[in-house]
């Protein structure tokens, strides 16, 4: 028997959903027009006023928002509520210049946690469960989001955060964790550690909710087999709230988008044209319930397909496929957003040529990043100690910029192909 956190919403008819969406969209556009001069200007430039938006069918008239807008408007330019009404910020993983800060009112936090609660219930969670949250806590949305959702469901919540595998396993066995929430790569790592230590019999896990990075069906089966659980995907982005924008149900054939909060569109990333349902294209979201940080027509840069095929779980919300790629050059490495331009910045700062190659791979279910850089006369010395000292400084600077470790490989001068037109800066060997 399928269970829902908010059955009347999750199984609502399409007609009912459109009524909600139309009403909320109209209200939201007015709210943004009244409170966000940055977006109002964009609307004025496009010759649109709130009066032109009567419902979802008018959505295409609104201007888009991109990450560049967020950067330009940083930090308060897209804020739609007085700071006095905001209670929280979350932010994307550490990137200079590309940092996104999202604001939440108490109501925003509440709705976000509802979305996460829906995901937990869809994964079989009840108030009898012990929900082990090993996403990072802090600015990253993963920990706080699932933590709040778990509270709402009434699970005993273990705010483990990431890392310290010994402690993770001790709590998991001693307190009998039944639901694990973390990145899929960390789940795979925990699964391996459990097998290495022979703890299989002491693990009571039944489900896992894994997101924030791409993972394959093969990886899903591997985690499911090793942990004896069912593994569910979850999707979200800080800009719209965090995890819980969409989540998988028992059918595991895509993630139901919480359409009562986020209206999805699929567009052609080059022309911005809205594509017919079922087309592959860039996912764009309009937040229709967020108060503090209501983004309209926000480019996620994730490429995917939407499907309204009837789902056996009974949920009526549209399903999105796993993201199949990106329409920009952003990479997600160990759950962290990485742009090649960040690496370029660090190299130039550290006195290396901006001619480099990033090699991304997945070894034992964990992402690896190698940056190949050419040696220069200025950085060379007859002393190995001096070279390695500079190399270490570069590794630290990359870590500070990206938030993850990158191995540096110094290569011979001119061994990296000079660009003729578009340079190949990224070699992604991951099979996802």
């Amino acid at each position: 028997m399928e269970r829902y956190y908010q059955p009347e919403i999750e199984t609502a008819s399409r007609e009912q959903m459109l009524v909600w969406q139309n009403e909320r969209l109209v209200k939201q556009v007015q709210h943004v027009w009244d409170n966000v001069p940055y977006y109002r200007k964009k609307m004025e430039e496009k010759g649109v006023t709130p009066g032109d938006i009567h419902g979802v069918e008018d959505l295409h008239k609104l201007p888009f928002l991109t990450k560049d807008d967020l950067r330009e408007a940083y930090p308060y330019g897209l804020l739609a509520k007085p700071l006095g009404e905001c209670v929280r910020i979350q932010s994307t993983s550490g990137t200079t210049g590309r940092r996104v800060v999202a604001f939440y009112t108490q109501h925003d936090v509440d709705l976000w946690e509802d979305c996460c609660a829906r995901a937990i219930v869809a994964a079989g969670g009840t108030k009898e469960d012990v929900c082990h949250v090993s996403y990072g806590y802090g600015l990253f949305t993963g920990g706080p989001g699932l933590n709040g959702g778990s509270h709402k469901v009434g699970c005993l919540t273990l705010p483990m955060s990431s890392g310290n595998t010994d402690r993770q396993l001790q709590f998991m066995t001693d307190l009998g964790s039944t639901i694990l929430c973390c990145t899929p790569s960390y789940a795979a790592y925990l699964a391996e550690s459990i097998h290495e230590r022979g703890l299989q019999d002491q693990i009571k896990l039944k489900a896992g909710i894994f997101g924030a990075e791409a993972w394959s069906e093969e990886m899903r089966r591997d985690i499911e087999n090793k942990l004896g659980i069912k593994a569910y995907d979850i999707y979200g982005l800080t800009e719209t709230s965090g995890p819980g924008v969409s989540f998988e149900c028992s059918e595991q054939t895509g993630m139901h988008i919480n359409e009562d909060h986020f209206i999805p569109e699929i567009i052609d990333p080059d022309t911005g044209e809205v594509l017919p349902e079922g087309s592959k294209g860039e996912l764009v979201f309009t937040s229709i319930t967020k108060e503090a940080f209501p983004l309209l027509r926000y480019h996620t840069r994730d490429i995917c397909v939407l499907s309204r095929k009837k789902c056996s779980c009974g949920r009526t919300h549209v399903k999105m496929s796993k993201p199949m790629g990106r329409s920009d050059d952003m990479l997600i490495i160990r759950g962290v957003n990485v742009f090649p331009s960040q690496i370029e910045t660090v190299l130039l700062e550290q006195g290396y040529p901006a001619n480099y190659v990033m090699i991304v791979d997945r070894v034992n279910n964990s992402d690896t990043l190698e940056v190949q850089v050419e040696m220069t006369a200025e950085n060379f010395s007859d002393s190995l100690a001096q070279i390695t000292e500079k190399e270490k400084a570069l590794v630290s600077a990359l870590k500070a910029m990206l938030g993850i470790y990158a191995k540096v490989k110094l290569v011979a001068p001119k061994s990296i192909t000079r660009s003729e037109g578009k340079a190949v800066r990224v070699i992604d060997n991951r099979k996802i």
């Binding site: 040696m375 220069t376 006369a377 060379f380 010395s381 007859d382 002393s383 190995l384 070279i387 390695t388 490989k409 110094l410 290569v411 011979a412 001068p413 001119k414 061994s415």
Partner: protein, 143 residues
């Protein structure tokens, strides 16, 4: 006893070193000493050659990253305890050795070690004060 050492950046892959020795061979430049310091992905090869300036120019033109610096070719009595004696002299004088390696061949019962130190002139003075008078570069086959 002060001579020029050439250091070259080498990626760790088969054939890299032979490319360098080929270049030197083609110009009839003689190798007097070679030493390699290795890191995981690359190495630094240090050379003492018969015509250092010419070799450096040749390698630079071929696109190698290199640097040259003076090092000391110190005479070491070619018998048991010979190096120990020299190292004691350095230790007593408080001289730090960054690295050292040996040259090919010996002459008048003297072998030659290359010392990379901060102050090459000071090292020469200390060695001479202890009766270790080095050979000239010409005597070592270096122009």
């Amino acid at each position: 006893m002060i001579i020029q050492q050439i250091s070259i950046f080498l990626e760790n892959r088969a054939g890299q070193l032979s490319e360098i020795t080929d270049i030197l061979a083609q110009s009839n430049i003689d190798l007097r000493a070679i030493h390699i310091a290795e890191a995981t992905d690359y190495g630094v090869v240090r050379l003492i050659v018969s015509r250092p300036q010419e070799a450096a120019n040749l390698l630079w033109d071929k696109g190698y990253i290199l640097s040259t610096r003076p090092v000391v070719a110190a005479p070491v009595p070619d018998r048991p305890g010979g190096l120990a004696k020299v190292l004691h002299i350095l230790a007593d004088a408080g001289i730090d050795i960054n690295y050292m390696y040996s040259m090919f061949g010996s002459r008048d019962e003297m072998a030659y070690m290359i010392f990379r130190v901060k102050d090459v002139k000071h090292l020469c003075a200390v060695l001479e004060a202890n009766g270790l008078n080095g050979a000239t570069p010409e005597e070592l086959g270096i122009q």
